[in-house]
């Protein structure tokens, strides 16, 4: 009987904690309203990983450039779903119940759940790092928003990447790609690669995996069939990049990256997106919406038009590959060490 009392007290305590959480948030909200033009936004990030972290930093920088600075006139709440779908849904709901002025959603699943939760309350959602907003039903076929939702896409510059690989490796025949079958972004990128490889005289060899533990085996198998490997923005594969690089280095097979962070840690080169830049662009869109200049539903989603070339000269040296000088000169950033 006594235990039951404890149990009931415990439940009561939790309900109170919940209510207290509610209360404090509401009071801080009204504090914000007193000051003029003060904003409260929620950032919902799907997983913890380099590119997505860069998006978030860039986003806040972009807002700051437009005069909306965290601490001054901006309150930011950052939540990370740690790649868990159920948590992701709860984060979106909590932002909506907190009546955020805007939700910034990083990566496709976050964007979808934020839009779904915010739809009825008409809270604007600005997404970034969504590879295919049309396939994710966040934009219609013409790129216009389907609701109060807009943002930026990190579509891979596949054509530029293939052209660059051809210049670096004139004799290469087969390109290998490792991807996760559960990531819609990767599947659509593979389709783009398939439609373009012929044009640059390559054949494509893809290997789909379903989880991290399969990467080592899949890499070994892929390396026996290809002249080089190129990466997508596949979350699982990118997270295991060190494993892949180690195996590829043993066989002196170059691995091309898809963005700057990957080149830093040992990919040979990349025609890639700078996620900080992408985040900044997203921040500027968000600033327009917060200031009331435009509605999210009036802004078509944007992409980064000019990819940058990144190269790691140390890797090139190790592999004995000479980077063509005009290509080397065009590099946005060139690294001469491999960071761990």
């Amino acid at each position: 009987m006594k235990k039951k009392t404890i149990a009931i007290m415990m439940t009561a305590a939790m309900v109170m904690a919940m209510a207290a959480g509610c209360g404090s948030k509401e009071s801080s909200a009204s504090d914000g309203d007193n000051k003029e033009a003060s904003y409260k936004i929620g950032i919902q990030q799907f997983a913890e990983h380099g590119s997505l972290d860069n998006c978030r930093e860039g986003f806040l920088e972009g807002l700051e450039e437009e005069g909306i600075k965290e601490g001054d006139n901006l309150k930011v709440e950052v939540k990370n779903a740690m790649a868990d779908t159920a948590t992701n849904a709860q984060i979106a709901d909590s932002f909506v119940s907190d009546n955020m002025d805007l939700i910034c959603a990083i990566a496709t699943p976050s964007a979808q759940s934020a839009y779904n939760a915010a739809m009825d309350k008409d809270i604007p959602v600005v997404y970034t790092a969504v590879t295919d907003p049309v396939a994710a039903e966040l934009a219609d076929k013409d790129g216009n928003p389907v609701g109060n939702v807009t943002g930026t896409s990190d579509t891979l510059p596949v054509e530029e990447q293939l052209k660059m690989i051809r210049e670096m490796m004139p004799d290469a025949k087969t390109i290998g790609i490792l991807y996760t079958t559960s990531e819609a972004n990767s599947v659509s990128a593979i389709a783009t690669y398939e439609s373009l490889v012929d044009k640059y005289g390559f054949t494509l060899e893809t290997k789909g995996i379903s989880q991290t533990s399969e990467i080592a085996l899949a890499t070994d198998d892929l390396l026996t069939k290809v002249d080089c490997i190129t990466n997508l923005t596949d979350n699982t594969v990118v997270a295991s990049l060190p494993t892949i690089l180690e195996k590829a280095n043993e066989k002196s097979i170059p691995v091309f990256g898809s963005e700057i962070e990957q080149v830093k840690i040992g990919c040979l080169a990349a025609e890639g997106i700078d996620y900080i830049q992408l985040g900044k662009q997203t921040g500027k869109i968000a600033a327009q919406i917060l200031k009331g200049e435009k509605k999210a539903s009036e802004i078509p989603y944007e992409i980064i038009s000019e990819p940058g070339f990144y190269v790691n000269t140390k890797v090139a040296e190790n592999l004995g590959i000479e980077v063509p000088s005009d290509l080397a000169d065009s590099a946005v950033e060139s690294f001469d060490t491999i960071s761990e």
């Binding site: 235990k3 904690a17 919940m18 509610c22 948030k25 950052v78 159920a86 849904a89 909506v96 979808q112």
Partner: protein, 295 residues
């Protein structure tokens, strides 16, 4: 208020899943990992049929049926091929990953433009303006209550009694000249049907199917069942099925509190601590019983 509503919504949707886990874990004493695959199976079926223009309420039934088939497969693997219970679940869970991908077509299927059980033309005409904000919660409650009552009624039938007997005292079932293998298969079918139904509801509420939505579903289900049954063990008035549903809401509340007040990195740890605190309450009681018995 919104905060509480969203906890109730999420908690009750996962409550349907917890009812399924309750059957396998508590009644059948069968650690069934099929759940991680049958939860997204419900979602995949829903995504497939909704994009094909089917009535969203009908997809609920189809999702249940698909989940039941998955449960039957796990049962057949266990009973007919004599694979250990844990392994047969793992086998089905692994197989379902691919099946789900095939059914849904791709790893992520948005359903924003489809009619769902929560948002469709008939519904928006039917529900009065004033309570539109609670539509989702009301529908979830209706679905949960229906599932719970049907399950309660089933457990009172002859087949339901046999189900309970298999977990408690398998010899009894054999002595009644019933095949306990078949009873297990039936139990697994109902359990995974419910789990798959939960997947369908979750998918329609979130308006997106995502292949990874099943990862950790079994953990949520088990947590809910254990929280529910240990918190309300002494309240004999409360049926175990109701306790499980409350357990699910409590679990989601734990997550929501952790999510709200702590760093995202700390969230899982905080959830674990809250979970442990609740478990210890149930445990203490059991220890006392043991020492009494020892003395």
């Amino acid at each position: 208020m919104d905060f509480v509503i969203s906890i109730l919504e999420q908690g009750l949707i996962y409550g349907i899943l917890a009812l399924g886990v309750y059957i396998t874990y508590k009644i059948l004493d069968f650690p069934d990992l099929t759940v991680d695959g049958s939860f997204p199976l419900g979602g995949a079926i829903t995504a497939y049929f909704l994009t094909g223009g089917m009535n969203p309420y009908l997809t609920l039934l189809l999702a249940f049926a698909a989940g039941a088939v998955a449960g039957i497969c796990t049962g057949l693997i266990h009973v007919k091929c004599r694979v250990r219970d844990l392994l047969s679940g793992i086998i089905m869970m692994t197989a379902l990953w691919t099946i789900n991908l095939y059914v849904a077509g791709t790893a992520n299927v948005p359903l924003f433009s489809q009619q769902t059980i929560f948002k469709n033309d008939t519904l928006s005409n039917m529900i009065p303006e004033g309570i539109q904000a609670y539509t989702t919660l009301i529908i979830v409650i209706v679905l949960v209550v229906i599932s719970k009552i049907l399950l309660d009624l089933y457990l009172e039938t002859k087949s339901g009694y046999l189900l309970r007997a298999v977990g408690d005292n398998p010899t009894l079932v054999t002595s009644l000249a019933k095949d306990q293998g078949n009873v297990k298969i039936v139990g697994l079918a109902i359990a995974n049907g419910l789990v798959s139904l939960a997947g369908s509801v979750f998918c329609q509420e979130e308006r997106v199917f995502e292949i990874s939505m099943g990862t950790g579903a079994i953990v949520i289900g088990l947590a809910s069942v254990i929280i529910g049954t240990s918190l309300f063990k002494k309240l004999t008035l409360l049926k175990a099925t109701s306790a499980v549903l409350i357990g699910s809401v409590v679990y989601k509340a734990c997550v929501a509190i952790a999510l709200r007040n702590f760093e995202p990195q700390a969230m899982k740890l905080i959830t674990a601590v809250l979970f442990l605190a609740i478990l210890v309450l149930g445990m203490e009681r059991r220890k006392k019983v043991k020492t009494d018995a020892g003395a």
